[in-house]
Symmetry: C2
Subunit: 461 residues, 2 copies
């Protein structure tokens, strides 16, 4: 042993003996079926004759057959022996290469994604291990639709400290990304009878689509040099805002206007949906605290790990007015929607200080990039004005009127993924269009950053 | 050093020197603020005087202050120095104990949850490590709304082999549990103009609620000794079924009726939603292959890791007719909804054989419990008939007419969580009610199983 399998016509490598033998036989047979060396429908030798041929105990063979029958690789039928299951003509299994993802451009300055190469994989796995091995068994069952209590508690503490959010863990609801949270809120608003939601003149079309999908119409607020103008808020049931760092324009909502928004909400019973997508990243100014801190009963705070860690975690959070918690968790389908392992890991990350360390390092990296961007533009395109640079992972670069489209087109030709401001302008806004680029300087990995910056300078007018 | 901080009035333990010093100082200061030993609003000494007091470089102190300002613990304002941030009066951070979850009964025989103590935590973490450290950076970004290609490919192979599903990875959509999948499908059906969905007389109320929430009405099909009777299928747009193992009755859908259902779908363009919640667990019979294998264009196959691994993973999957993929992913909000780490880990689990090994061990454990249940009942309650025992994680125990309610009530008094069949009967079914218990023998951990079984026998009539 190993010897040829005279009765089977297939050579397999087997452990010589001991407890590994049955396992080794099972694995070898499974692999022979999987790889189609044993074709569908093939009748296997009886366990007795295969055992004789292999010089092993008959029971060992019978047990291996039984396992493979249970798994569906083999079929045992009274009177016709054991055969390779007919339906084993199957699509490629795990050994097949997954098909390549969408080809990427050489350089990518689309905003909205952090530097994925900087994700702290090892730290994350360490935290996962600590968190998972100490979690109670009950944590593995169907959970609270709001999310794990460990994470809700850790988030409440962190958001209070870092963002000035007034958060009770009981009112924190974990969700699978900002869009998921917005989807839930939109459905709840619609079910409450809300018909119109005010939005900013500039924002993200996928967010607007969620509102439309829930049956809501949108009323864009005007935008001027002080940011979004809330003067036209009236009988809309809610307003969706990015108060700390307007996306994509990059300005904070003016202090007076913050007050106007909150007053409106109090007066009319409207709801403010505060999208705080990159509150962790600010460079030259004091942090702008969350609007929610001004009135937790009328503001829903929404934060995400997509910019500070990675979108693939699919972890975001809402801090809700207490009165909304039940409706939102029901809209979730009544059960938790995020994997518990990631939730526990993020809780551990937050409470151990690993999150702060990671954000600190990331902030430094992005600030350096921001500085390099500003430097490069000041020498190579001194006639262009750059705004929105005090915070976040993107900047807005104003272009001469009428040039935006030709610049983004030139970028595409050069293998540089680049968005113009037009992609973020609401279709129904009356705000005058501006020609500009929205430069996501957080997106490239470090090694591609210098190249991306050069490519950008090359396409500027 | 460590010496008292004369200027600060707080003793901290510091690393004597070296690169650890700044970190140690930062951590100590943060902890002093967090624990409120440094109260909100407290003005800190200048970096110069604290440095002198501590006998360390001024830069070290300045850097520590800067970090804590960046994190939001401290506030630096021109002219008024550095202070402990006012809003640091916060809810308990991670050091606080999360509030206890709902108290559990002494014994739990509610069906629907596997033995959580048997989750292969160490194996899972090992697979996570292998999968995560080798994943491309791109996997950490916003992903395909269908889920990771590695997982879709692995699932397609597994489902073909183990369940007879005809699965193209392009048509597999990963979702956050069965309920999430059903929610998406219900919305898509409603948007297509479907008004009524046929359901089984027995099933899970949370599933029915998803249909209602999407604006669909339900038409229950009758149930008899051969299982659900599809004779009344007519102009409903879809039917929700558990063909391999009716939940909770435990019978497979009769062969002739399988054909009837598929014929109906072909004839009317209706859609079959096949809930294959515990297809992995069958004991005394050949596996019942998925209905989807008969007609992949009219059947949506839905499977889940909630029974085979644990509900907390929040991982389930749909195999969709190609024509439905776009609508379902749009209903998802256009982005992936499940954490990539868990998706990659499950893919690794499936392709490495760890999943098969785990399921095999679990099947053995549950079969032993099933046998113990049948044995115990045959001696202690020989007058009661037990059905649905050939597969799954639960059995149905018929009771004398009129006794169900008093038995479940007695169980509650004895600290035994136990559901009667009435909890699973559709409100509008015309099928005659039966008195029975649905005994979830998969739920208790091993050490509690014998006790749970005794408790059950005690409350039987």
């Amino acid at each position: 042993m190993p010897k040829p399998w005279a009765t089977l016509g297939v050579d397999l490598h087997l452990e010589p003996s001991g407890p590994g033998l049955r396992r080794s036989l099972t694995d070898a047979l499974r692999e022979a079926v999987r790889s189609a060396r044993l074709a569908p429908g093939t009748r296997l030798p009886s366990s007795r004759s295969l055992a004789v041929d292999l010089g092993i105990a008959r029971n060992t063979v019978a047990e291996a057959y039984a396992e493979l029958v249970a798994e569906g690789w083999l079929t045992a039928r009274q009177g016709s022996g054991t055969r390779v299951t007919d339906r084993t003509v199957i699509p490629p299994t795990g050994t097949a290469t997954p098909r390549p993802e969408t080809p990427r451009p050489a350089y990518d300055l689309i905003p909205g994604t952090p530097d994925l190469a900087a994700f702290p994989r090892t730290e994350w796995l360490k935290a996962a291990r600590r968190a998972f091995l100490t979690a109670p068994n009950q944590a593995l069952g169907y959970g609270d639709p709001r999310g794990r209590p460990e994470l809700r508690t850790a988030l409440a503490g962190y958001l209070a400290r870092a963002r000035g959010v007034r958060a009770d863990p009981e009112c924190v609801v974990v969700c699978a990304g900002f869009v998921h949270g917005l989807q839930l809120l939109a459905r709840v608003l619609r079910a409450r009878g809300v018909q119109t939601v005010a939005v900013e003149s500039y924002g993200l079309p996928p967010h607007w689509r969620q509102l439309t999908a829930a049956g809501l119409t949108m009323a864009p607020l005007p935008f001027d040099e002080l940011g979004t103008h809330p003067g036209r808020l009236s009988d809309q049931g809610a307003v969706l805002l990015t108060p700390a760092h307007q996306f994509p324009m990059g300005v904070p909502l003016h202090r007076d206007r913050r007050a106007t928004v909150v007053d409106w909400a109090r007066r009319t019973g409207g709801l403010v949906l505060e999208d705080d997508y990159d509150g962790e990243f600010r460079y030259d100014r004091q942090p702008v605290g969350a609007l929610q801190g001004l009135d937790p009963d009328h503001v829903v705070y929404l934060g995400t790990a997509s910019k500070s860690l990675a979108p693939a975690l699919r972890l975001a959070w809402m801090v809700l007015p207490a009165a909304l918690v039940k409706e939102v968790t029901e809209a979730k389908g009544g059960s938790d929607t995020c994997g518990v392992l990631d939730q526990l890991t993020l809780a551990e990350f937050l409470t151990s200080g690993a999150y702060d360390r990671h954000v600190r390092a990331a902030r430094l990296r992005y600030r350096r990039r921001r500085d390099a961007l500003v430097d490069a533009l000041s020498t190579q395109a001194p006639h262009l004005r750059i705004t929105g640079i005090a915070a976040g992972l993107h900047a807005v670069l104003r272009l001469p009127p009428g040039t935006e489209r030709s610049v983004t087109q030139a970028a595409t030709w050069q293998g540089l993924a680049l968005h113009g401001l037009a992609s973020y302008r609401h279709g129904s806004t009356t705000t005058e269009p501006l020609d500009a680029l929205v430069v996501g300087y957080g997106t490239p990995p470090d090694h591609a950053w210098a190249g991306a910056l050069e490519a950008l300078c090359r396409v500027l007018p």
